[in-house]
């Protein structure tokens, strides 16, 4: 008899659960996997892009990785349409903070602001919660490189390595096995491709199915990089996970 309790987010079930929030989490666990790994000198985010149709115009831009401000990026797992609303809100919040305080917003504050918004939809309104989990990667002078994960309930936490989306339980246990404390960004990228290659359904990986982004520092400055297809293919090739190159005499 869950019918009475799952149509509105604001109502607890007799077992003390919020069904709409659980359904939102369920929706996310069908979305493409996204993982994030914290390294000593940066952070890597990687996401699985589900190729829906060969006829679909392949947009070169990333679908699941977004730049939030000059020192923060995020990966999306869940409904892209919902994510767009939240990303827009995050960007606006970050710029507002910059305008008021003449300083980039500290990472945790931005995550907190987004989670406050997400939490609101689990409590009032009769509207459904946002069906997205985010993995945030950022840098601030207070706490250096940071990795966060947030979900539709409005909870968030800081992680060394984390995952969201389909197969996130197996991705999480692979990360637990493979994660090395004090790894550098290059090693983190390697771990990321290896974990994704084992959690993704498809056998061959390519830049069409993967998205990569990194935060790091170069010459004392923070840079954000959403990788181009060439960069992703080069990484896959380096670790022997790319497509077999067709021989020219065929």
């Amino acid at each position: 008899m869950s019918r009475r309790y799952d149509s509105r987010t604001t109502i607890f079930s007799p077992e003390g659960r919020l069904y709409q929030v659980e359904y939102a989490l369920e929706a996310i666990s069908h979305a493409g996997t996204a993982i994030g790994i914290l390294a000593t000198d940066g952070i890597v985010l990687a996401a699985e892009r589900k190729v829906t149709s060969k006829l679909l115009e392949q947009d070169s831009s990333a679908e699941k990785l977004y730049i939030l401000n000059d020192n923060m990026i995020c990966a999306v797992a869940g409904m892209t349409a919902d994510a767009n609303i939240l990303i827009n809100y995050a960007r606006q919040t970050a710029q507002n903070y910059l305008r008021t305080y003449d300083e980039e917003i500290p990472c945790e504050q931005l995550v907190k602001r987004l989670c406050d918004l997400k939490q609101g939809y689990t409590q009032h309104g009769g509207l459904r919660p946002f069906g997205v989990s985010f993995i945030y990667a950022g840098y601030d002078s207070l706490r250096n490189f940071q990795l966060y994960l947030s979900n539709p309930s409005g909870n968030y936490g800081g992680w060394k390595a984390t995952s969201a989306g389909a197969n996130n339980a197996s991705a999480q246990s692979l990360l637990k096995q493979d994660y090395k404390e004090d790894c550098n960004l290059e090693e983190a990228c390697e771990t990321a491709v290896k974990v994704l290659s084992r959690t993704m359904d498809s056998t061959t990986l390519s830049s069409e199915k993967l998205e990569f982004a990194t935060v790091g520092h170069r010459n004392g400055k923070i840079y954000l990089n959403i990788w181009s297809a060439e960069e992703i293919d080069a990484l896959l090739k380096k670790h022997g996970l790319g497509k077999e190159e067709k021989s020219s005499d065929e």
Partner: protein, 230 residues
């Protein structure tokens, strides 16, 4: 017809000219009281010295001779203010409450540059409201992360600048020339206190009113402390 009292005390009939925008008279007389209050700030090697006059003036009448025209915003940031009576304390304590709220919420102090930027943005939006605050300020602080002192000069039109030495009111006309001549980069506490005493002596000699002496506060990495002997 509705009449509007200007801060000069002149009654003028209201016209559409006053509904929006400035009248020439209004711009000039935003601060009803002549800026007789003294605000001085000098940035030294690893500290900022801020001096404010102790007289609380009402027109030319001295109401009090132990007035404190400063508020501590957090452990290492001091705000000194002058301007329209009432506005000053209201605005200063609003800023103080908000910086303290920030510290409480995020368990970290806003750096001096961010406080100055926040004050400027509040003042800028106030300026464009129906009842703007007319407050001039100096913000002195020590940035523990950058390990350097900072001094900001802000006026009621929401200008803001980080400068080595600063003054507000009539004190500017008497002290800036002294500071121009004698300020050096990287001065120690004793040197800056000496310079401040020179400014004090000049004000006493030249200013036609008794501002009841200066209250002088030092802001450095250890926090805010008051200096005696002025």
């Amino acid at each position: 017809m509705c009449r509007r009292k200007l801060s000069t005390g002149v009654l003028l009939p209201s016209s559409k000219f006053f509904v929006q925008g400035f009248s020439p008279k209004e711009t000039l007389s935003r601060i009803a009281q002549p800026p007789l209050d003294v605000l001085l700030g000098i940035r030294g090697k690893d500290f900022v010295l801020i001096a404010t006059s102790k007289a609380f003036l009402h027109g030319i009448t001295v109401v009090k001779d132990t007035d404190d025209k400063t508020r501590a915003l957090n452990d290492h940031t001091l705000l000194a203010f002058s301007g329209e009576a009432g506005d000053t304390i209201q605005f200063a304590e609003f800023i103080q409450a908000n910086t303290q709220l920030y510290t409480m919420r995020h368990s970290y102090d806003l750096p001096v540059s961010s406080v100055a930027s926040f004050v400027r943005s509040e003042l800028a939006s106030s300026l464009r409201s129906r009842h703007p605050y007319t407050v001039n300020m100096l913000i002195g602080g020590y940035d523990a992360k950058k390990e350097q002192p900072e001094l900001y000069w802000l006026d009621y039109l929401a200008s803001s600048a980080e400068i080595p030495y600063a003054a507000h009111g009539y004190a500017q006309y008497y002290c800036l020339s002294i500071l121009d001549a004698h300020y050096k980069k990287g001065m120690g506490v004793d040197e800056v206190v000496g310079l401040m005493k020179d400014c004090h002596a000049e004000l006493k000699r030249r200013m036609p009113i008794d501002f009841k002496g200066l209250q002088v506060k030092l802001v450095n990495k250890d926090g805010i402390s008051e200096l005696e002997g002025f």
